[in-house]
Amino acid sequence: MVGKRVLIVEDEIEFAEMVKLRLELEGFDVTIAEDAYQGNKEILNNQFDLIVMDLLMPVGSGFDLIKKIRELPDKGDIPIIVMTGKTVDEDVITKANKYNVSAIFTKPYDGTKFVNTVKSILEKQIKL
């Protein structure tokens, strides 16, 4: 997993830094975008192997950005993990299924479980 690039789109910067720390301990190369606009710019300009996405952010919701990503011709299939403080209700699940989200984590999350999920998603990706 060393060198795999992960983008975290999250407006709560200290939260994003905790996720970043966790992933960096595993050898990932991590970038943080503080809102959907920044996130969009990062995705268009750089190559990422996985995106961790918050749902409630200023400047466009997480699902709006996910929808945009899925419509990209060359990067439409990047695995996405949703990380949210929102209650995961039917609405969230339906949208997550619609946009082919790989996993949903609710804040506060279990760090070990999160890292294991990220690894298994990327392993599957390699096999494909």
């Binding site: 709560e12 200290e14 939260f15 905790m18 996720v19 720390l21 966790r22 301990l25 409630l56 403080g85 929102k86 209650t87 209700d89 039917e90 339906t94 299924n97 609710t106 804040k107 506060p108 999350y109 279990d110 760090g111 070990t112």
Partner: protein, 529 residues
């Protein structure tokens, strides 16, 4: 509080003109009897009241008949006005005083007509304007009583109306406050998740010694910190749950679930912690599988809450047992333990919020939030069930609950291809649904109108009547316009056309060839709305 009173009041108001006409009629009957006695010296009052002579009897009946007819007429005029919503505007309601005056005038004219035509007392104009003194005072008396009576009634109506308006105002305010409270709790709880998340991760990374070795004391303190962060998390989750239940926002998502499997899975999950505590877990199933049309996640949450509750009150050597019985109309479950039990004086408050009884101190990792049983009760009641508790101090506690067995919904499949209907209906039947089929649009619409379907699965490409036309017909009929429709088609449907039919419906679609798992999910989603 005054609900039945209010309803009664409304009913009286709806028929107030007819009722007052009847009231005036009775009053008129008595007045006539008095007059018979005083002015015509026709015997005793009680005789005149009960057995008037034929002439007088028909006279009275005629007047009362006219009174009631005009009451009905006024009522019908007012009713159409009220139906147009004009009554909502303040003061547009016709006052009872006007009704009294109208009846008085009517009575005066009737008397005049009678004086002239029946008793032969001169020209009509005289009968109407200046009758003989006896008739005049008689009429004045009657009119006076009529008006007093209507003033009195109007007064009662006014007071009732004021009380009703006050009640509605208070009710509205309370609802607003409640909504504010729910929104506030929901907002705060969501906001809390970010800082809690940061704290938990920080502590976890340290605790896992990913960034350096810890000594025993540091480990102990950090572990205690994390346990309390987890407790805070549970509190936030429970607060969100209870505020959603109280705001009525909790949605039940029913599908084909097997309670036996749910219970087995839960027991497995608790096996570890029970073994650690030296507690035996038992499951008595009296039937299996127990398939019901219910919400699996919510049922899991109920068992989870009751089990985690029970495990807190038991000690080494105790036993916890789940018992499930499949009755005809409901499922009866119980979760019992041989633990400490609950004191009798605490039992009435056991399902209230933030009540924790005999909770051990220390081990924060196992401590509850005081909301678990309130949530459990809310969930069970939302699913049409009941929960109650039996407990003896020192012997143990049993929570009993029931879940209503809702019938599986009926689904109509409309498709001209027999083989597709066979495959789809076979699959839906295996999921417990009741299924009917129609092989063309015309009979599909007919069946939908004459039966009670919870969902229509509709093919778009059919000869004769197309899917679009079927949707149009269904949406234009009161009996069918609320039935959810799942479109089944190999091609993308014409959304513009569908929006034209009904712009408020999303019209979910499943693509042919049909994937059973997708069909299952889409059906659950569409039926549960």
């Amino acid at each position: 509080m005054g609900d039945s009173n209010l309803n009664m009041h409304k009913r009286i108001r709806r028929f107030r003109f007819i009722l007052s006409a009847i009231g005036f009629g009775v009053f008129y009957w008595i007045l006539e009897s008095i007059r018979d006695v005083i002015s015509f010296q026709k015997g005793r009052f009680i005789e005149r009241l009960l057995f008037p002579d034929l002439f007088s009897f028909w006279m009275r009946i005629m007047v009362i008949f006219i009174l009631i007819l005009s009451g009905i007429y006024i009522q019908s005029v007012v009713k159409t006005k009220e139906e147009r919503g004009e009554e909502e505007k303040r003061g547009s309601e016709i006052s009872m005083i006007w009704v009294g005056l109208a009846f008085s005038l009517l009575y005066w004219i009737l008397e005049g007509v009678r004086d002239v035509f029946v008793l032969g007392k001169g020209p009509l104009i005289k009968g109407l304007i200046s009758p003989d003194p006896m008739g005049f005072w008689m009429r004045l008396l009657a009119v006076g009583v009529l008006i007093l009576f209507s003033l009195y009634t109007q007064n009662i109506i006014n007071e009732r109306k004021k009380a009703e308006e006050n009640l509605q105002k208070i009710n509205k305010k309370l609802k607003e406050l409640d909504q504010m409270k729910s929104n506030f709790i929901s907002m705060v709880s969501h906001e809390l998740r970010n800082p809690i998340g940061i704290m938990r991760e920080g502590v976890s990374v340290c605790l896992e010694e990913r960034i350096g070795k810890l000594n025993e004391m540091q480990k102990k303190l950090l572990l205690r910190t994390r346990n309390n962060i987890d407790r805070l998390t549970r509190l936030v989750t429970d607060l969100l749950d209870i505020s959603r239940i109280e705001a009525g926002k909790l949605k039940i998502r029913r599908s084909n679930v097997d309670i036996a499997t749910i219970a087995e899975t839960i027991i497995e999950e608790y096996e570890n912690i029970a073994t650690k505590k030296g507690v035996r877990l038992n499951l008595s199933l009296h039937d299996r599988p127990i398939r019901i049309y219910g919400d699996g996640d919510k049922i899991t949450q109920i068992f989870n809450n009751l089990l985690s509750n029970a495990i807190r009150y038991v000690e080494n050597g105790d036993e916890i047992r789940i018992d499930i019985r499949n009755n005809e109309k409901f499922i009866k479950c119980s979760v019992s333990d041989t633990g400490k039990g609950i004191a009798e004086e605490h039992l009435p408050y056991i399902f209230s919020k933030f009540e924790q009884f005999g909770r051990e101190r220390g081990a924060s990792g196992y401590r509850g939030t005081g909301l678990g049983l309130a949530i459990t009760k809310g969930l069970i009641e939302k699913m049409g069930g009941n929960i109650w508790v039996d407990s003896t101090l020192g012997k143990g506690t049993t929570f009993h609950f029931t879940l209503e067995k809702k019938p599986f919904p009926k689904i109509l499949i409309v498709d001209d291809s027999e083989s597709i209907v066979d495959v789809v209906s076979g699959f839906l039947r295996s999921e417990g649904y009741r299924v009917d089929a129609a092989y063309d649009g015309e009979s599909g619409v007919r069946k939908a109108k004459n039966d009670d379907f919870s969902l229509i699965i509709l093919d778009m490409m059919m000869p004769e009547m197309s899917g679009y036309e079927v949707i149009g017909r269904l949406k234009h009929d009161k009996r069918t316009n609320n039935i959810p429709i799942l479109i089944m088609s190999a091609y993308e449907v014409n959304r513009e056309l569908l929006n034209h039919v009904d712009e408020n419906t999303a019209f979910p679609q499943i693509h042919k060839p049909i994937d059973p798992e997708e069909l299952k999910e889409k059906v659950i989603e569409t039926i549960n709305g």
